[in-house]
């Protein structure tokens, strides 16, 4: 399974979200999920199974398919909740 964090330039924000997702996966004890980050231009629907985008660029991510929108990018509780839900859906938990 593959998860991709996406932001406008693919440098800072998406990278931070990626590191946070990795931390949460570590806490949950999930190992076989690949997480990476990218910019909006490069990301395509085939790049990952689930995409994490911040609310402010969500409208640019319609082409990606399975998108999870984050209300706040610095809220670890929100991210933990959403990552956990995704992992449950995909039978990783």
């Amino acid at each position: 399974m593959k998860v991709l964090a996406v932001c406008g330039s693919g440098l800072g924000t998406s990278f931070m979200v990626e590191m946070n997702i990795q931390q949460i996966l570590g806490e949950l004890g999930i190992k076989d999920v690949e997480v990476s980050h990218s910019d909006l231009s490069s990301a395509t629907a085939g790049d990952a199974d689930v995409f994490f985008l911040a609310k402010d660029i969500a409208e640019g991510g319609d082409h990606l398919g399975n998108v999870i929108v984050l209300e706040s990018i610095i809220d670890m509780d929100e991210l933990r909740e959403k990552v956990t839900a995704v992992m449950k859906e995909n039978n990783k938990l």
């Binding site: 800072g12 231009s41 911040a54 609310k55 969500a58």
Partner: protein, 459 residues
Amino acid sequence: MDGFLKLIVDILSQPAILVALIALIGLLAQRKNLPDTLKGTTKTFVGFLVISAGAGILSGALAPFGEMFQQAFNVSGVVPNNEAIVAIALTEYGSSTALIMFFGMVFNVFIARFTPFKYIFLTGHHTLYMACMLAVIFSVAGFTSFWLILTAGLALGLIMTLSPAIVQPFVQKVTGNNNVALGHFSAVGYAASGIVGKLVKGKNSRSTENINFPKGLGFLRDSTVSIALTMVVIYLIVALFAGPTYIEENLSDGTNYLVFSLIQAGTFAAGVFVILAGVRLVLAEIVPAFKGISQKLVPNAKPALDVPIIYTYAPNAVLIGFFSSFAGGLVSLLIMGLTGTVMILPGVVPHFFTGAAAGVIGNATGGLRGSVAGSFVNGLIISFLPLFLLPVLGDLGFANSTFSDTDFGVSGIFFGTLANYAGQIGIVVSLVVILAVMIGLNFKGTKNVIKQEPLKEEK
């Protein structure tokens, strides 16, 4: 023996190998397994070479632009774009940049550990760009080898801690908590917007979020799209002024001048795209290592994160800030045109990212009026700072591109001017004094810390 020494020197003068070594150290320090270590080291190595390749593409598109602009308006035109200028500078200053970045991060951890400024600057691409600019300015000032790395590394560490510190009071107002800081080297513009917002605040100024504002400009946040579109517009305007005869005879080898310009504009965006891919590869291992190590060594560390973290707090202000900042850029362009100086062209990318944040912060301190006025001032600042930064960049001042964000301008002008008037000693003394003051604040009340320090960096 001589052969061995030459080998070491050759290795250390190859920035691609240097950054790979830095990544390797980080991976070993985290005790990663062999495949991960090998993968991370290789990616960093290749990433740096990707940046160099992007620089080649980009320079190819910038050179004709410079000539066309000169022909059309008789002055130089400069496109502020961090990626462009950094990639070009890295071809000459790559090794020192890599080492300055490494020591800058080490100093950042030390300063956060031993002063009341607990900020750990995690926006890796800005760290890289700032390291690059300092490598240029400190080299122009005459520093070499060990002293270059030490002094510029210390300067980088100080800037990495002070930049988040000066916007923190405003960021706190936006996010409502003091656990996360803003790590984006445009802090002077944001703080200015916050102050302007406070000044223009009316009696019952409403928030930007209480008005209806058209959506649908989100696609500009896609940096490839916004860079390509602005460059096409700018290139075509300049081409029309330069005229078909000049372009087709001297630059395009007979190809229609508008078609030629369109392709060059697209090539510029392509170059930035490639550079960004390279930067992503280079940082992939270094930033997580830095984050992990700093969290272990600095109790109560406050991570300073990339600028979009505050966008979600006021989406209308993001768009208002962009427009208002861009308007500031256009007004500046007009003033530069009338006074006959070098012309700094307003780039959509810097105005969108920094204007947006200035809009959010201006809104937090002064509502709608604060948002508009604050980001307009930000637009003026990011237009005029590069004008004064160009002269201290040495040969790089003639590259038709330059650093776009305020903190590059402020710290570049600060150290460059200091070098001109007080030489290397002036720089060393100022670095030591700033550091001493910051450590000294440990022994005073920490209450007014954030208020005292910004003045130091601004002048």
